[in-house]
Symmetry: C2
């Protein structure tokens, strides 16, 4: 296998969400050559979904890949089991039970198909193409509608014995705390540090402070974006929303640091648009909760990947993970 | 290198504590051929300590090891840095600053010397000789005077970017909770689930319940052993001490499970002598705090290693970690 051949190999990266599925053809350099999408929730049966996906992707594959250049498929999906190649009891998908996703995909496309949850895929993407290049120990936190995480230790993604490791959003950071709208757990990180959690905090705080600018918005407009707008304008309540969120996040991160002692924690997702309003208190409370031997060592950085591309790039990175082809060898 | 040679190779396992240092000559089967100890705190300078250690160990080495059969030294020590081979700012040792322990040992003994903290060593020992044989993902919790931990993911001990990973005893499980007597942190796992923490809980609870049997003991006799005695006799307050401790421990373990999704959590140390009094509430609260996909999967088991030997065996296991010689190949 010559270097010329390798550099022409193509991965299909797929990001499956509850509503939309996005895909891209990705080369070894992390360039997305072609992209597209289809509606996930249009398909009651996974077989029909894959049939349609194949129909859309095939012309692109024919265009970019000569014989043998289509190297494999990587998929980021909710509740994906890396070891079994299955999607299991995903609450936001119509396909119920245990879906042998990789197996059906492999048969249809004629190449290997690897699958993991979207946050793990994002961590792989950062390691191959983003802010974590060259790092062997880091944690990627995705702060969006929910809170996801991917953990890399010693250069390997942590999958755990069953493939489900890295659910840091569901760790309890405040016993008997805020009830989670979906899992029912009390005091999970996701209940505070997700966009959903921030909206809940903002609604609570603005009720306590009638003179807050946040009260100028109707209920349904209160979200991390509008809170950020008010914070920029100097509204103390909006600033306090992010400070409180950052405190909860920072306390959680300190615990994660004492678990795996990463070189960096990468933050990603819509919530980080609040910038220093959330980053500074997060850093302060993380440092405060660390044992002295961990202090001042862990970089807290924002993702370098374009948000629209990250999921596809991350999924495609699965294809090359642990393969004989390493980005370090190609990217020189 | 023939199998016969390998099976004759000997490791020196050393467990350094604040007061005593224990050592043993260990073969590949985990048999301790010879053991001994010296006082750690007698030596103001680490060089003198190593000089004395060498003097004591040398005759044993001469007896058991022919040329080349002394394979290496493994050390479990507080604040040990695996990557650098150093002991750094250990609060309970007289040797201050950063001590290049491995380097001095290697020079003195003429073989490689690897070092890690005692809890990591214990985890390696369990993986090679104990209850975690054959497991690739597990967490070892040492519940003694303090709470230590060693984390194995995908068959590898997690060291983190700086060698200090796995300080789960210092994760905060109750924000603004009980102040730690040494670190000053508030609400760490160690403040509740160590023997020291249990004694604090017991003193607090017995003051609230004047009719508790625990009030029959003088202050200095209140420890996990006496609380266990009262629990056996049916004292509800003593039973509540372990239930409360188990709740705190179980909540913490749930968070750890959602981090690395281990096959098992191994419990070790003096505190587990309380048996079901602590194990049952721990298990119940761990399960309660887990996401459904993790429930009913994680074994909570007691260590199989003899407590007196575990530290030495674990330290000796460092010698063979990641070496071409694997126990799985030898132990058949």
């Amino acid at each position: 296998m010559s270097l010329v051949n390798l550099s022409k190999q193509i991965a299909l990266g797929i990001d499956i969400g509850g509503t939309n599925t996005k895909f891209g053809l990705v080369n070894h350099r992390g360039e997305i050559l072609e992209r597209g999408y289809l509606k996930t929730d249009k398909f009651e049966h996974v077989e029909d979904f894959i049939e349609e996906l194949h129909k859309i992707v095939k012309p692109h594959l024919d265009k970019y890949c000569l014989d043998g250049e289509f190297y494999g498929i990587g998929v980021g999906a909710p509740n994906a089991n890396y070891y079994k190649g299955t999607i299991e009891q995903a609450p936001n998908l119509r396909w119920k039970g245990v879906v042998p996703f990789s197996e059906i995909m492999s048969k249809k496309f004629g190449v290997q198909c690897k699958i993991t949850n979207d946050a793990n895929a994002a961590a792989l993407g950062e390691m191959m193409y983003g802010a974590a290049r060259g790092m062997k120990d880091f944690i990627m936190m995705t702060l969006g509608t929910g809170v996801g995480s991917g953990i890399v230790c010693g250069g390997n993604l942590i999958y755990g014995h069953d493939g489900f490791a890295g659910e840091l959003g569901h760790t309890i950071i405040k016993p008997n705390g805020r009830k989670h709208w979906s899992t029912g757990s009390e005091g999970s990180l996701e209940a505070y540090a997700s966009a959903t959690g921030i909206a809940i905090t903002a609604k609570k705080f603005r009720a306590e402070f009638p003179d807050s600018m946040l009260n100028e918005y109707p209920e349904e407009k209160i979200n991390s974006k509008t809170v950020h707008e008010c914070a920029i304008k100097g509204d103390p309540t909006a600033i306090e929303v992010f400070r409180y969120t950052g405190q909860k996040l920072g306390e959680a991160l300190a615990n994660f640091v004492m678990f795996s002692s990463p070189e960096a924690i990468l933050l990603f997702g819509g919530v980080i648009k609040a910038g220093d309003f959330i980053l500074k208190p997060t850093k302060r409370h993380m440092e405060h909760n660390l044992l002295p031997i961990f202090r001042g060592k862990v970089k807290l950085v924002f993702s370098e990947l374009d948000e629209a591309d990250a999921a596809i790039l991350g999924a495609s990175a699965l294809v090359w993970e642990n393969s004989s082809v390493q980005m370090s060898k190609i990217n020189t």
